[in-house]
Symmetry: C2
Subunit: 500 residues, 2 copies
């Protein structure tokens, strides 16, 4: 990389100065070491002026409320940037990065801000670069099977637009009505239908990326197969804003499966439902979704919804199949018979779109009913090998007994991606938090010891940073750092996360 | 990366000395510059002795016939290594790389040696590191939906073993009976069924990789979703032996679709067949394969097979669907009606395994019939946006008329991945070769101008090296070089390919 030399050293006022927010804690401790660094030549207000001149006044803000909304995501950590910039084009992003790179100013990119791990929290201050105004679907092209989008497009909007043409963009994170495609790409987002359709990465054909130094690189393209060089598209996808900033994405669309049908089955015990997951797959079925829910969650759901909608049983399994109408009709019948054989005590079947939506709504109610408990839900998107589902839930019960923290498990059983929710009273209370953190330590160690992953779809961000070393190992972390050093040698892109 | 310092400089005898083979040509010209470098401390026979001591006598060879078989792949370029090493374990690979890294000795890794682009030709001599003895399927685990394999396992052998358990490993390169999974991973191999099932990358969950300096890194794992850090699995997959050496792979298996059916349709003109491809996808079908063949290839096939097996018509389309038996039965019926509407003049339908195999055999005969012409087939695995299929074939006809070189097009229409074969008399004849190279130049320029890719499944190797700069662009190439420098700073892994 031929990168221009850095001209000045930037120290964020929010680090060097005194306006660190009260809730700043562990993730930021290490930043204190930097307070001895020489003061920056430019101040935050100079910075805002410079950026307003580079772009326009309406694209730059230092208003308190704007800084505050760009300080956090859906996780609890918070740290304000020095300035928020609203990019409206690739050129804007390139200008901001060229400027920031020359001065060593941190740039933390932000999409819709609905991440679950603090990934877009600008922990070192500097520039929060919002792509929320880059909301254009530039092209929807069934003949090529692609959509070309700006990163601020809301995932659900693309899905809707594609479906209106009889095509589909399959990735379906739970937050699809509010999350952006740029954020999905940054975290390689998943969702229930990954079992059959794969994660976001499987739908990214091409990316336009602005590098740390402001140069623009195109990788991949609009073709459905491409072996030209290394997989840069894959490297930038899921890189959580630490290697480059995606400004345009070419996404793969598939012909929309014209029909779907679902089953919602209750089982007496979790082990029977997990066994049914294996039984379904072993019988040669590849459903579009296989969602499992444990007894704790079901109990909470019964409180919210009434026992008639969820009769007795310690586990719930949702099966969705999609495809041609006649194919779906025959497969759902086969699956209903199979589930009965496999021990389901009640099966609700959905043959229409409305009935399917009602089952997915029930699934969403499970989440809401956990919220009804009044506890804070620490939602850990861990993944285990599919054979370990029963062991995971048994471990969750054990953890619950030993720590007094309730643990609710539900999620994408086909992938082994079970959202394991530690339900704590008040995570800001130091004593509760110490107990919860110790429980998380045990959970992640157990997951890693059992061949699992500490994050399946949310990313590392700040939330999983304490466990990344254990997860990647020494050499794995070295390789990550080498890649980071290669593409962002002055660490201006989303600094303070899991790499130096 | 904390890499140990390099102790000596290695210059291959095949570069510094006089035993360059007669067929060495363009790809090696630049190597002449290195002849002035200081002589190495170690000689090739010292090298062999050292390696035999590190591993064992039976794992190291300098026999002429062994060097010769490790000098080339299915492409025409050839250059012998100084020594061939047969690794039998990860530990062997780590020992060889640690040794080579300290001395700056080139290491070119080799699987089954059936690549089409000279990717495993050791153009700078040194060590040819064969993984052909690492042939163990370490685990087949339907409960986790994974297979764990050594890199020398033949792709077809894994497929067969998985199918015997009712599971499947979908990637199906044409060479699957002789190619190895390590080679598939190195080139991110494709095949006809990628339209529905995706390329090799989509099935690689975890890799054990030996880095240039001999350290071993594990990335990914046996879980089906994993967002722990950057996508190292994706970066190593398709990296053509230039970033690390894969010693174990954990691959995703899917429940085997219990049934398939096929249609083989003849169309009067190529445009009608390409239109049918769009019509099928636009009707919400996602076949497991959509293979198209042009008039030139069909004419050659008629010569080989007789006109009765292939009646008049300038295009041929194969459609395969798979899934549950009743689903397949109803979908193939729908597709047959659709193809009639879309202008097919003859449709052969295959409802049984045997009949399907007969259609695939016919498809293979198309390749053989090109061979029957006695011409050398320059098989270019280019990809175009799906909407450009007709334009590609029209361009091929134009190229044919203007250069006198026949061009045969057939391949994976659903992906736009059309094998475009320039049929030349004798590629070793300088004049013919100059004409052919000029035609390839025009072909690749046309492909890139039309949003396509110069390789869809074979990789870059030596064959596509002349066009890689044009394909990746200046910044794209810079990023590749930065990644290479990060992971293999002394360029010992497969040197002489498209990166310095």
């Amino acid at each position: 990389m031929k990168l221009p030399p850095k001209r000045t050293t930037w120290i964020s006022s929010t680090i060097a100065g005194g306006n660190r927010p009260a809730e700043a804690d562990d993730p930021f401790e290490e930043l204190d070491e930097q307070e001895d660094a020489p003061a920056a030549e430019a101040s935050p207000s100079d910075l805002a002026d410079d950026l307003a001149e580079l772009l326009s006044d309406s694209q730059v803000s230092r208003l308190d409320e704007v800084l505050a909304t760009h300080a956090t995501d859906k996780w609890y950590a918070s740290h304000p940037p020095d300035v928020v910039v609203f990019a409206e084009s690739t050129d804007d992003v390139a200008k901001v990065l060229t400027y920031a790179y020359e001065r060593g100013i941190p740039v933390t990119t932000r999409g819709a801000g609905v991440g679950y791990v603090g990934g877009c929290v600008p922990v070192e201050g500097g520039i929060a670069l919002s792509l929320a105004r880059m909301t254009r679907i530039l092209e929807l092209n069934p003949a090529d099977g692609v959509a070309v989008v700006q990163p601020g497009v809301i995932t659900g909007d693309l899905q809707k637009a594609a479906r209106e043409l009889g095509w589909d963009y399959p990735p379906d994170p739970a937050s699809l009505k509010e999350c952006s495609l740029g954020g999905n790409i940054a975290t390689n987002a998943g969702g229930p239908r990954c079992l059959k359709y794969g994660v976001t990465r499987n739908y990214v054909l091409g990316l336009e990326v602005v590098l740390a130094d402001g140069r623009i690189v195109s990788c991949g393209g609009r073709v459905h197969k491409n072996k030209t060089g290394f997989d840069l598209v894959g490297l930038f996808t899921g890189s959580e804003g630490m290697l480059g900033i995606v400004t345009t994405a070419t996404l793969r669309l598939i012909p929309r499966p014209p029909c779907r049908a679902m089953l919602a089955a209750v089982f007496p015990e979790f082990a029977a439902a997990a066994g049914a997951v294996q039984g379904i797959l072993n019988s040669g079925h590849l459903p579009s979704a296989l969602e499992i829910t444990d007894g704790f969650t079901l109990a909470a759901a019964r409180n919210r919804l009434g026992a008639d909608r969820l009769p007795d049983g310690n586990a719930h399994l949702i099966v969705e199949v999609d495809g041609r109408p006649r194919a779906v009709a025959s497969e759902i019948e086969e699956l209903e018979e199979l589930l009965t054989t496999l021990g389901a005590t009640r099966i609700d079947r959905a043959d229409t779109e409305e009935a399917c939506e009602a089952i997915w709504q029930l699934r969403r109610e499970f989440s809401y009913s956990l919220r009804d408990t009044g506890l804070t839900k620490l939602n850990e998107d861990i993944v285990v090998p599919r054979s370990q589902l029963v062991e995971l839930v048994a471990f969750a019960r054990q953890l619950e007994q030993e720590t007094g923290i309730a643990v609710a498990c539900f999620g994408h059983a086909g992938d082994g991606n079970i959202h394991t929710n530690l339900m704590v009273a008040d995570y800001h209370d130091p004593s509760t938090r110490a107990t919860a953190d110790a429980a998380l330590d045990r959970l992640f160690s157990w997951v890693l010891d059992h061949g699992g992953a500490i994050t399946g779809e949310h990313g590392v961000g700040l939330a999983k940073k304490p466990w990344i070393h254990q997860a990647l190992g020494e050499t794995g972390l070295d390789v990550h750092q080498a890649l980071k050093d290669a593409l962002d040698p002055d660490r201006i892109l989303n600094p303070g996360k899991f790499l130096d």
